[in-house]
């Protein structure tokens, strides 16, 4: 059930405690590490939308694109190492192992993905209205589920997908404006959400994340320009952000991720940036992109000497670093944060640097609570 409490952005409702369960941090910052993939390069991405961080250390990147002049799908998964020292193209592209998916042998419109502890990839497709499963090692399709419709548990343009601690599957149904929980085999367990712009209501939600500390759900409420936190039973707990392009404001947020310390990363897609909030929903910082050319990009450039000359003459290369329509953020190990820079066909990798503080290293949370105090 959705609770229509008079909650305002930045505030939290009981019973969610935005302080107690989370560690206090001395924030050092984020270090840009590397950019993965490269546009128009052999072994590059094309239309990357999302990724899953596999238990084997590989990243599985959903690439969504179509044949020129039509919507004939040419979508595929690419597997890449987080340090760019490994790359495999086209590891999963076909649903042909699923004989009942006649006419859907390729993925029409993949949106987002996740992966379980055994290495099974779960992928949503917003036109096929299904969740498809693949073996991440072999690339074989190993199952699919979901029925199209508007009722509870039915899928209508499914998008965000995430596994909870029990490895049940939460799926955002964008055009039903709902989030539903399923077993791994697709049996509907429960769900919540209704259309609207009031507290707890959703408009065309996109990404979803599970807070690993509290097992609460963060939903990218895309057309309401905010992120909302819900309990697994659908109770509204917190509203983060508001429409705009100022600090902490959002313009069509698409992806959301929560790291092991409860920090919330939001792909603020139409503002071309990624935002970071603490568990209290307070804005911390934004990322606009720091990309560098990787080896594939250098090779592509060096094969086009005219482009090298034009590049030599460019007065301002600053734009090249920046995000364009970043769609998703995912968390890796050791503080790695993967930001899917969809419009520039790359993933920008950052590393979060911070120190978790013991109780004797910081004043109690009841002190200095006014955020206007310095």
């Amino acid at each position: 059930m959705t609770t229509a409490s008079p909650i305002r952005p930045g505030e939290s409702a009981e019973p969610f405690d935005p302080v107690g369960p989370y560690p206090s941090l001395l924030r050092i910052g984020h270090r840009y590490e590397i950019s993965l993939g490269q546009r128009l390069a052999l072994g590059g991405f094309k239309g990357p939308q999302d990724l899953a961080v596999g238990p084997d250390g590989w990243l599985y990147v959903v690439n969504r694109f179509t044949e020129a002049g039509s919507d004939v799908p040419r979508s595929r998964f690419v597997r890449v190492r987080a340090d760019d020292n490994g790359y495999e193209d086209d590891i999963v592209a076909s649903l042909s192992g699923q004989p009942d998916l006649v006419g859907k042998e390729t993925l029409p419109s993949p949106v987002m993905c996740t992966i379980d502890s055994a290495g099974t990839l779960f992928l949503t497709d917003e036109h096929a209205n299904l969740v498809a499963m693949f073996d991440s090692v072999s690339g074989d399709a190993v199952g699919h589920w979901g029925s199209a419709g508007t009722g509870p548990g039915q899928l209508n343009a499914p998008s965000g997908i995430v596994l909870d601690a029990e490895e049940n599957v939460w799926v955002v149904s964008t055009l039903n404006h709902r989030v539903d929980q399923f077993t791994r085999d697709g049996e509907h367990i429960k769900g919540f959400g209704e259309y609207g712009d009031g507290p707890g209501q959703l408009s065309h939600p996109w990404g979803v994340a599970v807070d690993p500390i509290t097992q609460t759900l963060l939903v990218a409420d895309w057309r309401n320009d905010r992120v909302q936190r819900f309990s697994p039973d659908g109770e509204l707990l917190q509203i983060i952000g508001r429409p705009g392009n100022g600090p902490g404001e959002m313009n069509r947020p698409s992806g959301v991720a929560v790291d092991g310390q409860g920090d919330i990363y939001v792909a603020d897609r139409s503002n071309n940036r990624v935002l970071l909030f603490n568990p209290r929903g307070m804005f911390i910082e934004s990322f606009r992109g720091d990309a560098t050319l990787n080896e594939r990009g250098i090779q592509k450039l060096m094969a086009n000497l005219d482009m090298v000359r034009i590049r030599e003459n460019v007065v301002n290369l600053d734009d090249e670093k920046r995000f364009r329509n970043p769609t998703s953020v995912k968390i890796g190990s050791d503080g790695l944060v993967f930001m899917v820079d969809s419009g520039r066909y790359r993933i920008q990798v950052y590393r979060k640097l911070c120190r978790e503080l013991g109780a004797d290293e910081i004043d109690p949370p009841t002190m200095h609570t006014d955020p206007t105090l310095t």
Binding site: Q38, R39, L40, A41, G47, Q49, R64, F65, T66, A68, G69, S70, D71, S75, P108, S109, V111, E126, H127, A157, T174, L175, H204, W206, W222, R223, R252, S270, A291, L293, R296, G297, I298, K300, L301, N304, D306, M307, V308, I310, R311, N313, V314, V315, L317, D319, E320, R324, N325, T327, S342, G343, R344, Y345, R346
Partner: protein, 452 residues
């Protein structure tokens, strides 16, 4: 179809891209003048929300391909409540023909389209001023290579020949002076497309690269800059006739009546080059109201009108929107990529055997789908109030609902011979839906349906 509905349907075909039967009902109830006034004032209505379109086509996150710009434009043509601004953009896109083939930057093409849409109903002077500052046009006609010490005449020549006055109304010296007036009108250097994609350029005026010497242009002498030249161009009688002829061919008829063109040219002068007033004059004229089905639909008009009638792609989530501009290209009109700076050859030249097959197949597919919302709506309207209908009545009703397609007797007879239903058909059963779809598919394949 009664005269009022027929006239409204004509207006909605020409000032827009056609209409559903219920759209025609609503416009007929409002009346011709009120409908026209709304068409001439697009600012009264919201544009379709494009965030949802981008949401469900996230494969175009780079926003850089001309395909994406063409897809978005096609969607607007289908769904905009401001169809005349899209029609004006299409007119000026055909006149100021700029192509992706050379520009190779989808964002710059998108911005040019937006400029044409936003100024297409404005003052022609402003339109030429904006055009001369448009980065896609600058690159298309080599304005970035037009320097005070090395004049490139490409844009100056086409501005006179193809964009305003037409051949025979200026001299080679005028071309030279025009080009000199536009020296220093260039654009910013952009990042190279490899390896991270395209960036749009911006207009920039470089005073140090402008020829500040005196120029004589069309009999007037001065230290002219680009805007001064445009000011002289827009008041030329040849420009008035040029603009009038382009409007006539786009909105009235393929076969030009020079007397009517002159009436439009007079309006252009009378209203101080204000295109909204010129278009009101055209749409209120008797020669417009009588020019029904005198224009061959261009491919994109054909595709969009058919999709509107079928009621498809109202939802940005519907799959295969990209197919529509691709089909238009296969019929001879690739949006944002006209074949040359002369634009497309229109009228009967839209039709050849290959293009016609594409048109017929597309119309038959879309209008023959009884499950399509628009076709179901037509069946429902025909069913309403009737228990049964003859094949002839059914065909006539379908032709009327399809916007008053004016089938001649030969076509009508041929379609009646082809229909599965030869006798009375009960209106309450599902067989009516199939019969309606069949009749509409045959109407869509007719010669008459090719005309707007």
């Amino acid at each position: 179809m009664d005269e009022d509905r027929s006239l409204i349907a004509h207006l909605l075909r020409r000032a827009g891209f056609g209409a559903t039967p219920s759209d025609i009902d609503a416009a007929a109830a409002a009346g011709y003048e009120a409908t026209l006034d709304d068409l001439l004032h697009p600012e009264r209505f919201e544009r379709p929300a494009e965030d949802l379109l981008a949401r469900f086509h996230s494969e175009h996150s780079d926003e850089e391909s001309p395909r994406w710009a063409a897809i978005k434009w096609t969607y607007r043509m289908i769904n905009s409540r401001r169809p005349l601004e899209e029609k004006m953009a299409l007119l000026w896109h055909g006149v100021f023909a700029t192509g992706w083939a050379k520009v190779t930057n989808g964002q710059m093409m998108q911005r040019q389209y937006e400029m044409l849409r936003d100024n297409g109903l404005g003052n022609f002077r402003t339109l030429l001023q904006k055009l001369s500052r448009d980065p896609a046009m600058i690159y298309w006609l080599d304005q970035q290579s037009n320097h005070s010490e090395a004049v490139n005449e490409n844009y100056g020549r086409e501005l006179l020949e193809l964009f305003s006055m037409g051949r025979g109304n200026y001299t080679e010296d005028d071309v030279r002076a025009c080009a000199r007036a536009f020296t220093g009108w260039t654009m910013t250097q952009v990042l190279p497309r490899y390896p991270t994609g395209y960036w749009p350029a911006e207009f920039v005026y470089r005073e140090e690269d402008h020829d500040n010497d005196e120029k004589t242009f069309l009999g007037e002498t001065g230290n002219f800059n680009g805007d001064d030249v445009i000011e002289i161009i827009v008041r030329q009688p040849a420009t008035a006739t040029f603009v009038a002829r382009e409007i006539y061919r786009a909105f009235v008829a393929d076969d030009v009546d020079e007397d009517h063109v002159q009436e439009i040219a007079d309006a252009y002068v009378r209203y101080g080059y204000e295109l909204r007033d010129v278009m009101r004059f055209v749409f209120e004229s008797d020669f417009f109201k009588h020019a029904r089905f005198k224009r061959v639909k261009s491919p994109i008009e054909f595709v969009v009108g058919t999709v509107k009638l079928a009621g498809e792609h109202r939802d940005p989530h519907q799959f295969n929107l990209a197919r529509l501009p691709a089909l238009s290209a296969m019929m001879g009109q690739e949006l944002l990529n006209p074949p040359t700076v002369e634009g497309w050859h229109t009228g009967r030249e839209w039709i050849d055997s290959a293009f016609l097959v594409e048109r017929v197949n597309f119309a038959a597919e879309k209008l023959g789908d009884s499950s399509a919302p628009g076709i179901a709506e037509i069946a429902s309207r025909i069913r309403s109030g009737h228990t049964s209908a003859s094949a002839a009545d059914l065909l006539d009703a379908c032709a009327a609902e399809a916007g008053g397609v004016n089938l001649n007797e030969s076509t009508r007879s041929a379609i009646l011979n082809e229909l599965s239903v030869q006798d009375e058909i009960a209106c309450e059963g599902p067989e009516l839906d199939d019969a309606v779809a069949e009749a509409l598919a045959l109407i869509g394949a007719s010669r008459e349906y090719q005309f707007a």
